[in-house]
């Protein structure tokens, strides 16, 4: 065991910290899931990209700086500690990009990735449908072959598309073989939201943001890839036709796993929580000892999560990724996030209901156990695929 950072990693941390200190807006931006906030966030993405911080672990050619996984962890830690804005590009960077890296052609990588890191293309995820949420294999949206025009015609409806109302592109699964059942016969498509036949309807989340959207596809044409920029701009397919499920699962496990939820976010929240506790104590607020225990529990769990991640990253670096064990990760961070925010509300007492950053954060945290595979599904995965209980 060696729980120290190398000198070069420390220099990297210093560099991050310095840049963030100089550039993070003093006032928090309005929520990126509202229209006015989105514009401000887009500006921030441009700044990040121009300074080379948008996608630190990517190759320089795609806008990154070839950082190691450890450096990426450091960057995330500093990013959240600095209170830097949420990443409106995250669905692309964390959910789609790993799939493009794994399944995209070289031409697709060269075309899509730089545009993504520069926030020129803003991607949203077309996974859920009105009747396919936890049961992703129940997807009904379809893509029909059009040999004459040389491409596919997409139709159907996607929903719960986070930030769909502000995005420019959609990635998602469509049924290309109507005879095949469940997770067979699906294909992974990319398509611009500006395509003819696309309709996007935004609607409100319970935290008051407008960040959800439904996307209706009415004969949207996606041309076959001829390697030209023009056809790629009109969309495309990732991986093989009919192999969408396997391709999507790789994305899903990125979403569930290490990449999306670095401990930095929770450590920053835990630090703010301690600060709030100290403030309340200093202000002489009468706090039940049980509230201080709730704060302590959340803090300990944050440390446990951070250490767990270090172990996982060590595994990834040494060639033994977590696999199905990443479901532990998802359940733990999502429920930890709720507890962190609950503890803050407990510290606030009767004032917890006021519209403020902790209540807002609490509302947002409640989506954690639902999205990216509900925690019920994750617990099934733990039981069946990690512990080895019988499926039926």
């Amino acid at each position: 065991m060696d729980l120290t950072w190398t000198e070069s990693e420390q220099r990297f941390r210093e560099e991050c910290r310095e840049w963030l200190r100089a550039n993070v807006p003093a006032e928090p931006l309005p929520s990126g899931d509202t229209s006015e906030g989105f514009a401000a966030h887009l500006e921030w993405e441009n700044l990040l990209h121009s300074a080379g911080w948008a996608v630190v672990s990517w190759p320089a050619a795609y806008g990154g700086r070839d950082a190691t996984l450890w450096e990426w962890l450091i960057f995330e830690e500093e990013y959240y500690a600095a209170g830097a804005p949420q990443r409106i590009t995250q669905n692309g960077i964390f959910l789609l990009a790993p799939t493009i890296f794994e399944f995209g052609s070289r031409a697709q990588q060269d075309y899509y990735l730089p545009r993504m890191s520069a926030a020129q293309d803003l991607w949203c995820q077309g996974w859920s449908e009105p009747n396919a949420g936890s049961d992703l294999a129940g997807i009904k949206s379809r893509a029909v072959r059009d040999d004459e025009r040389g491409g596919w015609v997409l139709s159907g409806q996607k929903t719960w598309t986070t930030r769909g109302a502000f995005s420019t592109h959609l990635f998602g699964l469509f049924r290309t073989d109507p005879e095949a059942e469940r997770h067979r016969g699906l294909t992974y498509f990319l398509a611009p939201l500006t395509a003819e036949g696309m309709t996007v309807r935004g609607f409100g989340r319970l935290d008051g943001d407008e960040g959800f959207a439904e996307v209706f596809l009415d004969d949207v044409f996606v041309p076959d890839d001829d390697g030209t920029t023009e056809t790629m701009a009109a969309g495309g397919i990732l991986g093989e036709v009919g192999q969408g499920w396997g391709v999507a699962m790789s994305t899903t496990s990125s979403e569930r796993g290490l990449t999306l939820r670095s401990p930095g976010r929770f450590r920053a929240a835990a630090a703010r929580l301690l600060e709030l506790a100290h403030d309340q104590i200093a202000a002489g607020v009468d706090l039940d000892p049980a509230v201080l225990d709730a704060v302590t529990d959340a803090w300990i769990d944050t440390e446990a999560y951070a250490l767990y991640t270090l172990r996982d990253v060590t595994g990834v670096v040494e060639g033994t990724p977590a696999g199905a064990r990443s479901s532990y990760n998802k359940v733990f961070w999502s429920e930890l996030d709720v507890r962190l925010h609950e503890a803050a509300l407990d510290l606030l007492g009767a004032e917890a209901e006021l519209d403020g950053s902790w209540m807002h954060g609490y509302e947002f945290s409640l989506s954690g156990p639902i999205y990216a595979g509900t925690n019920e599904i994750q617990r099934n995965i733990i039981a069946e695929r990690v512990l080895g209980l019988p499926r039926k």
Binding site: G204, E353, L354, N375
Partner: protein
């Protein structure tokens, strides 16, 4: 020994339920949400009131239930009110019902001031609402529409009319709350009852707020659970209703279990108020359990609705956010447990 409402009380409660189904449906609750509330603008332009329901409650005598007959009320006791508070919670009624109809009347009735008697009559007739706050500078729901304020400090109940206070509107997560921070100046003339003259009335007022907010939380929890039972019976995934999954069943069973055992505590506290005994520990037991049960129910119900429950277009959040607010108003789970702890163990 008989731990159940009387037949008369049960019938009255059913009539109130029917009234609320009629006058305080979900559209009415939604419409009561406020437009000034920053990020919730899309929801409504209301003032936190459902006037039609309020009028109906006045007509039925609910608002005067605890007002002495001499002042135009029904002169009944708190055990007749507790079931109604549950129904108000079930309906999601945003109006200051428990404050106006159950907290204020006994305090007013204990005073010999002519104003108090006049106010009791106007409460019974539905003409005025009363905002109630604990502490020197309290957060009070429905502050912008309240006609009178009853402020309970440690040592006195102060009565102030709306023109005598300074209200800072604050935005709550529950857009129907129309919360305000009430600032005001203590004066001899504002004191309606002091702990020197009648400490028991002050204690009972505190306990009534705690008891009936517990009952309201029980109702809210039942509503969320009912909505969820319906949803998981309809929603299909993997070819079956998701309500047939054992994890869903057990999550809902646990939510229901918590509410089931919180309810008798609230009824017991109301009973003690009725017979004039000190209900402090009983009320705190009730609020501690009702607050926690409502949290468990909210968490389970949101989780089981999945993404659809996470939208403002779905109705669940209207009830859930009210539960979040009420579970902390007049003391939360832990602070009420601490009251019991100190009574039992001294520290």
């Amino acid at each position: 020994m008989r731990f159940a409402p009387t037949e008369e009380q049960a019938e009255f409660r059913s009539a109130v339920k029917a009234l609320l189904v009629d006058t305080c449906d979900i559209a009415a609750v939604r419409a009561s949400w406020g437009g000034e509330v920053g990020r919730h603008t899309e929801v409504g332009q209301g003032n936190g009131r459902v006037e039609r329901a309020w009028k109906g409650l006045a007509d039925m005598g609910v608002l005067g239930l605890l007002v002495p007959e001499a002042d135009g009320g029904m002169g009944m006791t708190q055990d007749a009110f507790v079931g109604i508070a549950v129904e108000a919670g079930y309906a999601g009624l945003p109006d200051p019902l428990i404050e106006t109809a159950a907290v204020a009347p006994p305090v007013l009735a204990s005073s010999s001031e002519p104003l108090a008697s006049e106010l009791l009559a106007r409460i019974a007739s539905g003409e005025v609402t009363v905002g109630v706050g604990f502490g020197e500078s309290p957060l009070v729901p429905c502050a912008s529409t309240a006609d009178w304020f009853l402020i309970l400090t440690g040592t006195a109940a102060h009565l102030l009319d709306a023109s005598a206070v300074d209200i800072t509107p604050l935005s709550s997560v529950d857009g129907a709350r129309h919360l305000g921070r009430v600032n005001w100046s203590t004066a001899a003339s504002t004191v309606l009852v002091s702990s020197d003259s009648d400490a028991a009335v002050l204690t009972a007022a505190r306990n009534a707020a705690v008891t009936f907010s517990s009952a309201t939380l029980v109702g809210l929890s039942h509503r969320m659970i009912d909505m969820t039972v319906e949803y998981v019976g309809e929603r299909h995934q993997f070819g079956v209703p998701i309500g047939s999954f054992q994890a869903v069943k057990h999550e809902l069973a646990d939510a229901a279990l918590g509410v089931e055992f919180a309810e008798p505590l609230a009824f017991n506290a109301a009973h003690l108020l009725s017979v004039g005994e000190d209900a402090t520990v009983a009320a705190s037991m009730a609020k501690s359990r009702a607050s926690r049960a409502s949290q468990v129910a909210s968490d389970a119900c949101l989780q089981l609705h999945g993404a659809i429950g996470y939208t403002v277009e779905h109705d669940l959040h209207l009830f859930m956010k009210r539960a979040w607010a009420l579970s902390r108003q007049y003391g939360d789970f832990r602070s009420h447990r601490a009251v019991v702890r100190r009574a039992l163990l001294g520290s």
